[in-house]
Structures are given as structure tokens and as C-alpha cells.
């Protein structure tokens, strides 16, 4: 079995990360009733004998769970969030050697995060990651969690991404990036996002973009349904995707609901690599199947069931609804409409009590309604994991490489343009050592060409492309 390391950078990255660790523990506790340290647990946790005072070097490979330590590196350039974690119920899963903090923050400035803190903390970060990597016997993947709008997550986060590529070229880099809302209170967020986008396009194996606004909408809708009484019978509060119940953190904090959604995304995407199933889908299969061209690696994700929760006995219709929902606008973690854009590829990762015939029936049913690129008309990848999420009988995560990411990127570019034309706040960036005006223009042209690549593919939608004439051979 392989292992993964989570690198969480900045305030948002660390908050999402913590929800992930909490829910991961809940999930494993639910499956692993005997308290044995098994292969599934080992993918994200180490088992440490704390009685030996050797800095956690003595790992226990089999047997009972002693003390679990997260395979994580926590980076933030201010202390608030990380300190909160260290005082909270999750403190046990981290030790001080996994943390890298500063006191002054990046001031919402990508350049400060990327260049100033990047060069100052480079060695320390490499050292921490290397130590975490040494604890793995087969490190497969880094999960980087950060936000795009601020300074630390966006700037230092993408610096870390580059470092990971340099130091561990063989290990996959899957990045979860939280994109700012249009009404973001950080004025410079378009600058930060676009500077970060270039790094993501060049250095990540794949990016799971998540829009803040979509998370807000989903949380509001679930709360609304729960309170209005509509569908109360269908909602068991303790097992919605926004719920933390059953985790070790008792009190819910303001953003927990939103962060839990992202945490669930990460749990589902790794489920098939952790648990057994009749059709395994390992992490390295994600990029292989969903990334036809190296730069076009932005995957739109949707989680179902999201709003209603199934009972134990699911009629077929309800199961089919789960598949339909995965393609609706309301279930995307981005504000995007995949159904009316072009699919380059699509993966369905199901968990729980779903059979191959259910998958086949639904693919056949949905296929005619979804536009796929001419050369990938059958661009479906499926994975089946037998362990469902806590509180569910079944669940589905759909990952789509779809041209619907384009509007979000164009929107960002426009907001960037508004600031950049006036040269607003530019001097704050340019006074940082390592930062030049060219960084802005290059980042902008990188994004523009990405948008252009998606546009060109999108333009082929609906046009009937003739099959390429086949190779002729002498007979």
C-alpha cells in the first residue's frame, strides 16, 4: 500500500486540512472497529510508540493502534490557526516538528509569500517534507491544500509546489485550490490568484479547483432545508457532508461546514486507494485517465448525495438520482455548468453498495445528454470502493475535465485586468525581492493561453467531426 502526505499552507489550507484529519479519523474509526493499525490507516497516518522518547522515529508497523500521527506538514506565516490546532482536540495527531510558522503573515501579498518566505523557509520546508517522506515506505502522492486569494497559501503554497517537484519529481502532486469569491474582501486576490495559477498550470499533476462561493451556496442550501422543515425526514443532520459529528472536534466553528465539504472531497478521492473494492482506482490513475494534455489538468468535482441522504434501503430510482445529480450545476464544487460545456474526460468514483450494473446503466443513460470531445466519446473512468462514507450506504464523486472551468478563469482575468490597468497596489509587489513586472505579464499570458486551449476545444462542441482516415497498409 502506498502513502500520501498532506501539505497544508496558509490559513485556509490549514483549516481545511484540519477538517480532513478529523473526518479521516472518524472514517477509519468507523471502519476499523478492532483498533488495529492496518494498511488503510497507514496511507495517511503513522503509528508511533510514544513511550520511546526518540522523536517519533520508532514506528510500529502492525498490531494495535498506539498513537496516530498525521502524515502532514503544516505551514503558515502567522501563528493563529496553527496555534488553535495545537490547543484543540487534534493536537495529538501532530507534533511540533511538523509545523512551520512565522509571526507576521504575508499581508495578502503573493510576492511576500512566494519570494520572501519562500527563500527564507525553503530549507526548513524541504527538511520537514523529507522527514515525512522518510516515514513512508512507498510515497505516492502529495496533497497540497491552499487558497488562491491570500498571500501565504497562494504565494508560499505555490512555492512549496515547485519545491516538491524539484525534490520529489516521481511523486504525484494533487493540489486542492480554493478560489476566492467575486466579493472577496482581499483587494489583491485577483493578482494573487493569477500569479498562483501559472505555478499550478506548470507544476501540478492535477488541480481540484474549489470555489468559495459554491461552498457557501451548498452550506446555505443544506441549512435552509434542515431548518425549513422541507425534507427533514430525508436529512439526517449528523451525516451530511457539512457535518462534523462523530469527529473529535466538539464545537463547530464558522467555516467548518464549508471546509468539511472539501475534506469529504479528499476522503472520497483517496477512498479507493485506501480501502478495497471490486474495481480499484489508485491515485495515479486519476491523471492518467483525466489529463489528456499536460497543462489541461483542472478537474471539476461534484459530490453526491449532497442535499438529501438515503436510508438504508435505496430504491433504484434514488440511486440513479445520485448519478444524475453529479452532473447538475448545484452539485459542483465550482460555479460551473459541465452539462453545457465540453467534457474531455470524466471519472466516476463510487463508494458503498453499488454494483457494476448500476454504473453501466447510469453511464448509458447519461451519456447521450453529455457532450464529449470527438476523440473521447467514451471518456469514462470508473472506480468502485466497497467502503461507503460514514452515515451513507453509497456515495459518488465525479471528477470532470471539462471546458466549464473557463468562465471562472476568464472572470479572474477580468478582475485582474481592472486592477492591473490602474497599476493598483503593484508597488507592494514590485518592492519584494525576486518580483518583477514580467512575473505579472507572464502569469497573465500563461492564463490566457490556458483559456485559449480550453476555448479551442470548446468550439468543437456539437460539430460532427469525421473519423480520421485510418492507417492504410499494403495488402
Amino acid at each position: 500500500m502506498t502513502q500520501s502526505i498532506v501539505v497544508q499552507v496558509g490559513q485556509c489550507g490549514n483549516q481545511v486540512g484540519c477538517r480532513f484529519w478529523d473526518l479521516a479519523l472518524r472514517e477509519h474509526a468507523h471502519v476499523n472497529k478492532k483498533g488495529i493499525y492496518d494498511e488503510a490507516l497507514s496511507s495517511f497516518f503513522r503509528n508511533i510508540d510514544t513511550r520511546k522518547n526518540d522523536g517519533g522515529a520508532s514506528q510500529i508497523t502492525g498490531g494495535k493502534i498506539s498513537t496516530l500521527k498525521a502524515r502532514a506538514v503544516l505551514v503558515d506565516m502567522e501563528e493563529g490557526v496553527v496555534n488553535e490546532i495545537l490547543q484543540g482536540p487534534l493536537r495529538e495527531v501532530f507534533d511540533s516538528t511538523q509545523l512551520i510558522t512565522d509571526v507576521s503573515g504575508s499581508g495578502n501579498n503573493w510576492a511576500v509569500g512566494h519570494w520572501t518566505y519562500g527563500s527564507a523557509y525553503r530549507d526548513q520546508i524541504v527538511e520537514q517534507v523529507r522527514r515525512a517522506a522518510e516515514h513512508c515506505d512507498c510515497l505516492q502522492c502529495f496533497f497540497l491544500i491552499h487558497s488562491m486569494g491570500g498571500g501565504t497559501g497562494s504565494g508560499l503554497g505555490t512555492y512549496v509546489l515547485k519545491l516538491l517537484e524539484e525534490e520529489f519529481p516521481e511523486v504525484y502532486r494533487i493540489v486542492t485550490s480554493v478560489y476566492p469569491s467575486a466579493e472577496d474582501d482581499v483587494i489583491t486576490s485577483p493578482y494573487n490568484s493569477i500569479l498562483a495559477m501559472r505555478e499550478l498550470t506548470e507544476h501540478a499533476d492535477c488541480v481540484l479547483p474549489v470555489e468559495n462561493q459554491s461552498l457557501v451556496d451548498i452550506v446555505n442550501k443544506i441549512r435552509h432545508m434542515a431548518h425549513s422543515g422541507k425534507g427533514v425526514s430525508a436529512i439526517k443532520k449528523d451525516c451530511t457532508v457539512i457535518s462534523s459529528q462523530g469527529g473529535v472536534s466538539g464545537v463547530e466553528k464558522p467555516f467548518d461546514g464549508m471546509n468539511n465539504i472539501v475534506a469529504n472531497l479528499l476522503l472520497n478521492i483517496t477512498s479507493s486507494a485506501r480501502f478495497e473494492g471490486s474495481l480499484n482506482m489508485d491515485l495515479n490513475e486519476i491523471t492518467m485517465n483525466l489529463v489528456p494534455f499536460p497543462r489541461l489538468h483542472y478537474l471539476v468535482s461534484s459530490l453526491t448525495p449532497l442535499y438529501t441522504l438515503a436510508d438504508v434501503n435505496i430504491p433504484t430510482r434514488r440511486l440513479d438520482q445520485m448519478f444524475s445529480d453529479a452532473f447538475s450545476k448545484e452539485h459542483q464544487l465550482m460555479r460551473a455548468d459541465p452539462k453545457h460545456s465540453l467534457y474531455l474526460a470524466c471519472a466516476l468514483m463510487v463508494r458503498g453498495n453499488v454494483q457494476v450494473s448500476d454504473l453501466r446503466r447510469n453511464i448509458e443513460r447519461l451519456k447521450p445528454t453529455l457532450p464529449f470531445v470527438s476523440w473521447n466519446q467514451e471518456g469514462w473512468k470508473t472506480g468502485m470502493c466497497s467502503v461507503p462514507p460514514v452515515g451513507h450506504t453509497h456515495a459518488l464523486l465525479a471528477l470532470a475535465n471539462n471546458t466549464c472551468v473557463r468562465p471562472t478563469f476568464m472572470d479572474l482575468r477580468e478582475r485582474f485586468g481592472k486592477l492591473y490597468r490602474k497599476k493598483a497596489h503593484l508597488h507592494h509587489y514590485l518592492q519584494v525581492e525576486g518580483m518583477e513586472q514580467a512575473c505579472f505579464t507572464e502569469a497573465l499570458s500563461s492564463l490566457s493561453s490556458l483559456i485559449e486551449e480550453y476555448s479551442q476545444l470548446d468550439a468543437t462542441k456539437g460539430i460532427c467531426m469525421p473519423d480520421t482516415s485510418r492507417l492504410s497498409i499494403a495488402t
Partner: protein
């Protein structure tokens, strides 16, 4: 005479486990002691406590499936795998044929060869090697191809039969057409025969004949295992009045009489759920009549056969021009295997009709039949037909067409180039398979 099976990748291991289950259940229930002994000697060896150990090697690049497979075998309580006859790594091939072929294959060649050699050394005589894998994934297809190539070098005189599982048309692996064409084109060069099971066809059998509502991969694999078992279990040879000794060798010589044609498909009759089986009576003439039409009309099961298709290669239209009979599946060779009650009385003349075959081969070398009076797997009478025919032409053509379309846009090629498979390698594979398509369509 024994057969060593090499199970590769998730699919290969899961199908393999069902295969040995079918073999073990069938032979343990058989009343004929010679049949039982012969089957056991062929596929199993004796373990330390006189239990049955499959003559098999399990290979995968990740551990989950292997441990599941081994555990399932132990749970059967009738047979198990050898203690040390498996090999797995921690990280799978990620659906990348190139990763399996160029990286994992060469890296683990020695260990795998060693495991196979140890199994081979435990056979009094080796009659053949059976490899099992899927075309779609990365380990089975890529590493399976590499390992077949190695086995060919090490065992130049042993027959190698590749069993491959052909992916569903849609929805397993997106790069499945690439992986499949790379596998098939390479296997074509050094395998003796490639026995194919299409998931789509088997899925339909599960739905329509076995009446399974929620079909799982287990159900699909069980049907494949049933087909393979009914093909490879012992048959009685009247000439030497004993159970035939060289199944894989005889299998090859019956079916592969020209190196251009190596793709084999299997049809089996009857197949039904065990509840209906208890209430059914079978007659040879009807079974064989259906089976013959299944062959002619290229149907995989006895339900929904097109009875209008006739065995004529050409028909003269009213304008005097010759046209091909639409829908007719022409054969190069067929092997009919009958098992059960009154086999000696079964009339098989219908399969010796020259109209079924190409004109350039005498019917005697195009058709062979085996039989055994021991009923197979609870079926009082059953017939299996293995064909080297045009049956796989359409799926192959379809697969190559889709892969070629994708290749024209160069999508996903960078993933293969990471592991030293170039555009030229792809072009070579396309060339090989276009040749195969052309040969089969000209039958």
C-alpha cells in the same frame, strides 16, 4: 501433464481465482476418478497436508487484490494458492501500459521468472502456460505483455495461451483503447493464441441467461471461469482410451493453423441460473443446433440469435454479382467440446459443413471435437465451441478506430512518453493490428 497459470493485475487475479474455483468444484464433484485425477494433476499440485494447491503464480503491482484473492481461495476450503507463489509491489501501474511494460516488467522480470520456474519444476511434465490478464489496465496489459515475452524466450517449446479480458465498450478506463492495442499488437508477435472474453458479451449473459439483477464483477468473472473450465477440463481421447494428456498443445494445433490468425472466442451452451437448471432437460440435437447458429450468426448466447443468417460466404444477387452473406461469421477453425450424458450419440455433422470455413483448408484440419461423458459443473449436457473466426473482427476494428481517433489528436500520448513509449511505437502497433483486421476480413 500440467498447466501453469500466471495471473496478472486486478482482472487477471480475480478471473484466475474464479477459474480455479470452477475447476476444483467441478472435479471434486465428478464421479469419474480418472477425470478427477487428471484434472487435479493438470491444474493443482499437492500441498504439505495433501490439500490442493493451484499451479498458479499471482502477480500484481499493488497488494490489495492479491491478498483478497488469496484469502478467497483459503475460504473456499477446497484449494489454495501456494504459500510463496505470489508477488506484489506497493504501487500499481496507474492504467498506464507503458509503466507496466517499460518499468515494472523489466524491473521484476527475474522474480516473476523465478516464481514461474518454481511452479514449472513441480510439474512432472509441462504442457503449457496460461496467462490471464485484462487489456485495459496497466499491470495486466503492460506487464503481462512483457512477461509473456520473457516466458516465450525461456520456454520456447511450450505453448503459451493468453487469456485476455476485453474491456467494456465504455466506462472502465479512458485510455483502454491505447492499452489494448499496445497489448494485442505485441502479444500477436509471440503468443500462440489469444483467447478473448468481452466484458460486454459476458455482462449480457449474466443479465439475460443467468437472470442476475445487480451484476457484479464476481458474476462476470464466474461466467468467464465457467467457459474456461469447460474448455480446459479433461476430455476423453478414444484413440488412446484415456484422458487426453496435452490439452494446451492439442488446443493450439486444432485452432491456430496459420500465424496470421490467433484471436479465439468461446461460446457455451446451455447457461442458466442454478434455480432454472434444476428444472431443465437438454437434448443434444437442440443444443448443437443452437450452438451452430450462434457461430454462424456470431451470437454469444442462445437468446436472440438471428436465425435468418445462413452459412454462405457468397451469394449471387439477381444482377449476377457476388456479395457476402450479411452477418455471416466465417471460421478458420473450430473446436467443439461436448461434456455429459450420451455424448457419443451427439450428431456433430453440422459443424463439418465446408460452407462454414475458408476454401483453402480441408474441413478435417479446420474442425476438431473433444468429448467427455463426465457432466461439467452440474450441467447434465453442455457444449463449448472455441472458434478462430471473424467474431472479433468488429470489436477489434472498433477499438483500433477509437484509438486512432484519439491518437490523431495526440491526446494522452505524453503519459506514455514518460515511460519510453513513443509515437512510433504506437504507429507500429496500429500497423500490426490493421494487418490483422485486413487478414480476418478477407477470410
Amino acid at each position: 501433464m500440467s498447466v501453469v497459470t500466471v495471473q496478472l493485475g486486478q482482472c487477471g487475479n480475480q478471473v484466475g481465482q474464479e477459474f480455479f474455483n470452477v475447476l476444483c468444484n467441478d472435479s471434486s464433484n465428478a464421479k469419474d476418478k480418472h477425470y478427477k485425477d487428471c484434472s487435479h494433476e493438470r491444474f493443482f499440485r499437492e500441498g504439505p497436508s495433501q490439500d490442493l494447491r493451484a499451479r498458479a503464480v499471482l502477480i500484481d503491482m499493488e497488494p490489495k487484490v492479491i491478498s483478497q484473492t488469496i484469502a478467497k481461495a483459503v475460504k473456499s476450503d477446497k484449494w489454495r494458492y501456494g504459500e510463496k507463489s505470489h508477488f506484489c509491489q506497493k504501487q500499481g501501474s496507474g492504467n498506464n501500459w507503458a509503466n507496466g511494460f517499460s518499468v515494472h516488467g523489466p524491473k521484476h522480470e527475474e522474480v516473476v521468472q523465478d516464481l514461474v520456474r518454481k511452479e514449472v519444476e513441480q510439474c512432472d511434465r509441462l504442457t503449457g502456460i496460461l496467462t490471464m490478464m485484462s487489456l485495459a489496465g496497466g499491470t495486466g496489459s503492460g506487464m503481462g505483455t512483457y512477461i509473456t515475452q520473457c516466458l516465450r524466450d525461456t520456454y520456447p517449446h511450450t505453448s503459451i495461451l493468453n487469456h485476455v479480458t476485453w474491456p467494456y465498450n465504455t466506462g472502465e478506463v479512458i485510455v483502454q483503447n491505447y492499452n489494448s492495442i499496445l497489448t494485442l499488437s505485441h502479444l500477436y508477435q509471440f503468443s500462440d493464441a489469444i483467447l478473448v472474453h468481452e466484458n460486454d458479451a459476458v455482462h449480457k449473459i449474466c443479465a439475460q441467461l443467468m437472470n442476475i439483477k445487480h451484476i457484479s464483477f464476481n458474476d462476470v468473472n464466474k461466467v468467464i471461469a465457467h467457459h474456461l473450465g469447460s474448455t480446459l477440463q479433461p476430455v476423453y481421447s478414444t484413440s488412446s482410451s484415456c484422458y487426453s494428456r496435452n490439452p494446451i498443445g492439442e488446443f493450439m494445433s486444432s485452432l491456430v493453423n496459420h500465424p496470421e490468425y490467433k484471436l479465439l472466442s468461446v461460446r457455451n451452451i446451455p447457461q442458466m441460473s442454478s434455480t432454472s437448471l434444476a428444472y431443465s432437460v437438454f437434448h443434444w440435437p437442440s443444443l448443437l443446433k443452437h450452438l451452430r447458429q450462434m457461430l454462424i450468426a456470431n451470437a454469444r448466447m442462445e437468446e436472440g440469435i438471428d436465425w435468418a443468417v445462413r452459412a454462405r460466404s457468397v451469394s449471387i444477387s439477381d444482377k449476377g454479382r457476388t456479395t457476402r452473406e450479411p452477418g455471416f461469421n466465417k471460421s478458420l477453425a473450430n473446436l467443439l467440446i461436448l461434456r455429459g450424458k450420451d455424448v457419443s450419440g451427439a450428431e456433430i455433422g453440422g459443424f463439418k459443413d465446408p460452407a462454414l470455413y475458408v476454401p483453402w483448408l480441408p474441413v478435417e484440419s479446420a474442425f476438431s471435437s473433444w468429448s467427455s461423458s463426465v457432466p461439467f459443473s452440474g450441467y447434465e449436457k453442455s457444449a463449448t465451441l472455441v472458434s478462430n473466426s471473424q467474431s472479433l473482427l468488429a470489436p477489434l476494428n472498433n477499438m483500433v478506430g477509437k484509438a486512432w481517433n484519439m491518437f490523431a489528436s495526440r491526446a494522452y500520448i505524453h503519459q506514455y512518453m514518460k515511460f519510453a513509449i513513443s509515437e512510433e511505437d504506437f504507429l507500429d502497433s496500429f500497423t500490426v493490428l490493421e494487418q490483422v483486421i485486413s487478414s480476418y476480413s478477407q477470410l
